[in-house]
Symmetry: C2
């Protein structure tokens, strides 16, 4: 950020009065520009014990498999956002969304929220950001080709939880810089 989005003049990094960290502040109108983490909302859609995955058509991690997920938009709820992304990426409608997994990824200032849900009628398609989509059992799942650590961990936990039918909400942080891309 170099310019004030309100008046167009230069901004500087400075700690505002009463604050404890640097913000971009306009040198002309003195507006303080805050930057905050973004929320990624997604679904873990289940049909007859199988989970719906999407093979990514776009970078990063093109050709790798992921759960349908994306940036939450203004004006929607986390549940609405998770369902919207599932429609956009897998042309699938989902019901009974239950919060299942929260990941903090502080190095890139992101919070992931995955909702476990039912895939309506077992029907799905392929959205523009996917190359293909598929329902996978645990044993058939392409474990070596999962796009992101948060997806890998969510899937591992889901199949473990499914054996006893208890799905506690878990929160943890992922350090992408220490983990590599799996």
């Amino acid at each position: 950020m170099k310019f004030c989005s309100s008046c167009g003049n230069r901004v500087v990094l400075r700690i505002p009065a009463g604050d404890d960290r640097e913000r971009h502040i306009c040198t002309s109108c003195e507006l303080i520009h805050y930057s905050n983490p973004r929320v990624i909302v997604g679904c873990l859609p289940v049909y007859e014990g199988r989970v719906l995955l999407c093979k990514r058509a776009i970078e990063p991690r093109r050709n790798y498999w992921t759960l349908p997920a994306g940036f939450m938009e203004n004006g929607e709820t986390t549940v609405q956002g998770a369902a919207r992304e599932t429609w956009e990426e897998a042309r699938a409608r989902v019901s009974n969304l239950d919060l299942y997994r929260v990941f903090d990824v502080p190095h890139i200032s992101q919070v992931y929220m995955f909702y476990r849900c039912d895939l309506d009628d077992g029907e799905y398609g392929v959205g523009p950001e996917s190359l293909e989509t598929e329902l996978y059992r645990e044993d058939d799942l392409p474990w070596d080709n999962i796009a992101f650590p948060v997806v890998y961990e969510t899937l591992r936990e889901y199949f473990a939880d499914a054996t006893d039918g208890e799905f506690p909400v878990r929160v943890s942080a992922i350090d992408l810089s220490a983990r590599g891309a799996r």
Copy 2:
């Protein structure tokens, strides 16, 4: 938003190729500026069955009581943010943070995440954004002077849950425009 924060030229509202909603796009460098919901992280600190509340020293809702909470910052986890806000507003250290309540407030593009936690040693003070702080039992709590609907609901649910010792994670949306300020 009127100007591009990267190059300082005018932005326009337009739907980018492959997108389905209007974004601010720079008329010169063509950068797309996304705007996304913000996360408010907070704590419900408990000590010997009592909950720590803060009387707000700032608007909105000055003089009303709230749980310690505030905007999540870049580079931190939701847990770190919730603990930081509790220190800033109530000079209290907390442990064993468990996600307890998630609220979507889509009309103002906010997501609240409250963590239930222990108040270390029952010690607390008064931070610069608070007029006073206090530990309250359910019966003594200033129910008529709670700052925000999300705080009111979280407290009601907490004391109900405490009677049977089960604290399920709940997610729901609040429509501020329909509820008023209680």
